[in-house]
Amino acid sequence: MAAMTADELSAIEHRHPQIFRRPAYKRFWPLLLIAGTALYLAYALWFFSLPQVLRESHWERLPLFLSQWISYDLQPEFRLDQPEITPKYPRFSALGENPDPDWVIKNPDGTYTVQIDGSAKSVTFDKTRATITANGETVPISLTGGKPVVTGPVPDWVTVHDDEIVAKMGFVGEVRVTVDRVKVRKRFLGWANFVFDTRSPFFGKPAGEVISLIVSGPELRPGTSNLALAADNIWNNAQWQHGDVWTKLLQTIVMAFLGTLLGGIVAFPLAFFAARNITPSGVLSQVLKRFFDFMRSVDMLIWALFFTRAFGPGPLAGSAAIFFTEIGTLGKTYSEALENIDDKPREGVLSTGANGILVQRYGVLPEVVPVFISQTLYQWESNTRGATIIGAVGAGGIGLKLWEAMRTNSNWANVFYMVLLTLLVVFIFDNISNFLRRRLSRTLHDYNRLQAERG
C-alpha cells in the first residue's frame, strides 16, 4: 500500500468535512450507548440477583429433562426381605398389568439377573450378594453385614453411600442396592404405548396382528367393531390423551382464527372513520385512534383474564381476548394504510358525482384491500403463536395443558408431543399465510407496475 503524505491526508479531510469533523455528540453516541447498556446490564445483574440464581440452579437436570423428552423408563424393584424375591413394578408402568419383560431373568440357581444394556450392563443378585457389571468391570457387593459393602476396588461409576450403593450406567439407567431391596431403572428410547395404552385389548400386539384383527378378527368387545374399538382406544389413550390434546390444539387454532377475523370485521369500518383523510370529523378520528390505542395497550393478558372470569375458562374467553386486542391492532394498521393511499382514484370517482359509500368502494377499497388482507394474515399468524401462551392463564387451548404437564416435571415426553404438534401447526399456518401474502403482493406488484406504465 502506497503511503500517503500528510498533505494528501489533510486534503482528503478538507474535501469531506462531514465525515472527519462531525460534532462531538455524533462521534461519541455509540460509545455512550454502549456504556449506558453496560451500566444497565450491571444493574439488571443486581436486580435479578443473577449470580445467586445461577449458583442455586440445577443445570445437571437439563440433559436429564431433555432425555426424558424422547425416552421412558421402567423401574422394577426387588424386595430381598420377603421369603421369595419377586419383581415389583410401579402401578401404571408402561408394561401393563402382567409384566414379564425378557430382560429380567430368573436363573436356575435362584438368582435374578436384570439386563440393563444386554449382558454388558447388568446386575445379578440373590439375598446375600449382588454383582454389578458395567463398562467391562465387575463389582461384587456383599449384603450380609447389615449394610451393602463392595468387596474389592470401587470404580468411579459406583457411589457408596451409608446404606445404599448406586451404580450409574449413563443413559440406559442405574442400579440401587440396599440390604433389603434392589432397584433398577432401565431407560428406553422412544415413547411408550403411544398408540394403545395398557388397558387396551390391542396392547402389546405387533402392528401386523393389530391390522389383521381390525380387518378380519373376531370382535374383541362384543357389539363394537374392532375398528371403532381401536379408534376409541387411541383417542382415549390414558397416557397420551390424544383426543384431549388434539381438541385443545383445535381450540388454539380456532381462538386465533376467530379472534383475528372478528377483530378485522369490527376494525374495518372503524378504520375509515379513524383515517384523517377520509373521516368526516377530526374529533371522531382522534377518539377512534385513542380507542385503538386503548384496546392495544390493555394487553391481551388483561382481556384474557377478564373474559376467563366472565365466560369461564375455555376458547370463548381466548377468542374474545384476541378479538379485543385485534380491534386495536388492526384498527391502527388499517387506518394507517388508509392514510397512505393515493388520492387520485378517489378524486376521479368523486368527480363522477358518486355518493360517499361509492367513493370508498371504488376509489379507496381496491387500493387498500390487499394491504388489509396481508396485515390480517400476518396478525393471524402471530396470534396462532400467541394463543398458546394466553391459554396458560385459562383462556383455553393447548397452553394450559402444556403448562400443567410441565408443572409435574415428570411428563416431559407428553410435553414434547404437544410441542411437536404446536410447532407443526405454527409451521403450517406460517406457510399458508406466507403463500397467501405472496400471492397478494404479486397482485399489489402488478397493480403498481400497471400504474407506472400508464405514467
Binding site: 446490564l41 445461577l54 394487553d299 398458546t388 396458560a392 392463564v393 402444556l402
Partner: protein, 318 residues
C-alpha cells in the same frame, strides 16, 4: 351506466363481453370466498362456545354483574393500592392490605409493590430483548444470502432461528423454571431465546436488501469478512436493526406480562390473583399501571423509531 350505448363494432363488443364474463367470474369467487369465511366463522364460534366452561348467551346477561365488582366502594382505594398507602377499609383480608408489599430502599423511603413488579416486568423485557439483539446480529450476517461466509452454516443458522421462533415460549419457561427456579430469570431465558429467532429473521431480511456496492469496494481492497460486514453492511442496516429492536421491546413487555401470570415473576401474577379473587381496587390499580406503562413504552418507541428511520418504520411493520 350502460356500455351498450357506446359499443359500435364487433371487436369492442367482444371485448366488453369478455370483460363482463371476467367480472362476473371474479364476483362469484369473491362471494364464494366470503361465504366460506362466514361458514368457517359460524362453525368456529359454535365450537368455541361448546368447548367453553360457560356459554356465551348464558353468561351475557351476567357480564354487568361480573363487572360490578370492578367498581370499588371507595375510589381512593385505587390510589392507595397503587402507592401502598394504608386503607381505612382494611379488615385484615388480602383485599386491602396495601402497605404490606412495600419495598424499602432507604429508611422510610419505599417503592410501592406494584411499581417494583412493573419494573421487574419491564426489566425482563429489556434484558431479553438485549439477549435477542446480541445473538441475532451475528446470526443475521451468517443467514443473509449475500453476506454468508458459508452456505451450509447459513442453512443451519436459519433453521435454528426458525426453531427458536416457533418454539412455544411457555415450554422454554417451564423447562428453565425447573432448572433455575421459577421466576423472572426463567422468563428472561424464554423470551430471550424467542427474541433471537424473531429478530434474527427480520435482521437477515434487511441484510439481504442492502446496497452491495460498499461491500464490493471493501472486497476490492482485500478486506476480510469481519471488516466487510463491519464497514459495508453494519452502517446501512443499524438504524433498521434498532427500529426492529424497539418494536421487539414493545412486544416483549407484553409477553413478559403474560409470562408473569404463569409464574415468571412481575406484575402478571399479581394481576391474575387480583382478577380471579375479585379485588376491584387492586385490579384497577394494576390495569391502570400496566396500561400507562405499555402506552408510554409504545409511544417512546414509536418516537425513537421515527427519529431513526423516518416514516419507513411504520410501513415496514406491515
Amino acid at each position: 351506466m350502460t356500455l351498450s350505448t357506446t359499443i359500435h363494432s364487433d371487436a369492442t363488443r367482444q371485448q366488453a363481453d369478455a370483460w363482463r364474463r371476467q367480472t362476473s367470474l371474479r364476483r362469484f369467487y369473491t362471494a364464494l370466498g366470503v361465504a366460506l369465511l362466514l361458514v368457517a366463522m359460524g362453525a368456529t364460534m359454535w365450537f368455541a362456545d361448546e368447548a367453553n366452561a360457560g356459554h356465551f348467551f348464558d353468561r351475557l346477561p351476567h357480564i354487568l354483574d361480573f363487572l360490578s365488582w370492578l367498581i370499588p366502594k371507595d375510589w381512593n382505594d385505587v390510589w392507595r393500592a397503587l402507592f401502598d398507602i394504608a386503607s381505612p377499609n382494611d379488615k385484615g383480608t388480602q383485599e386491602f392490605n396495601f402497605p404490606l408489599g412495600r419495598v424499602y430502599i432507604w429508611g422510610g423511603f419505599y417503592i410501592p409493590e406494584y411499581f417494583e413488579l412493573m419494573l421487574t416486568t419491564v426489566n425482563v423485557a429489556l434484558v431479553s430483548t438485549f439477549i435477542g439483539f446480541v445473538f441475532a446480529v451475528p446470526f443475521s450476517f451468517i443467514a443473509a444470502r449475500n453476506l454468508t461466509p458459508s452456505p451450509i452454516l447459513r442453512l443451519i443458522v436459519k433453521r435454528f432461528m426458525e426453531l427458536l421462533r416457533a418454539f412455544p415460549e411457555i415450554v422454554i419457561a417451564g423447562l428453565f423454571a425447573a432448572i433455575v427456579s421459577i421466576g423472572p430469570v426463567a422468563a428472561i431465558i424464554a423470551i430471550g431465546l424467542h427474541s433471537i429467532g424473531a429478530l434474527g429473521k427480520l435482521f437477515y431480511e434487511i441484510n439481504e436488501n442492502i446496497d452491495m456496492r460498499p461491500e464490493e469496494g471493501l472486497r476490492a481492497v482485500g478486506a476480510n469478512w469481519f471488516e466487510r460486514v463491519r464497514f459495508a453492511d453494519l452502517p446501512q442496516v443499524l438504524p433498521n436493526f434498532m427500529s426492529y429492536t424497539l418494536l421487539r421491546i414493545e412486544i416483549n413487555v407484553r409477553i413478559s406480562t403474560i409470562m408473569g401470570a404463569v409464574g415468571g415473576g412481575g406484575i402478571g401474577e399479581e394481576l391474575k390473583l387480583a382478577i380471579s379473587r375479585g379485588f376491584g381496587a387492586k385490579t384497577l390499580a394494576l390495569v391502570l399501571l400496566l396500561f400507562i406503562t405499555i402506552f408510554l413504552v409504545d409511544q417512546f418507541s414509536a418516537w425513537l423509531r421515527r427519529k431513526l428511520v423516518g416514516e419507513q418504520a411504520f410501513l415496514m411493520s406491515a
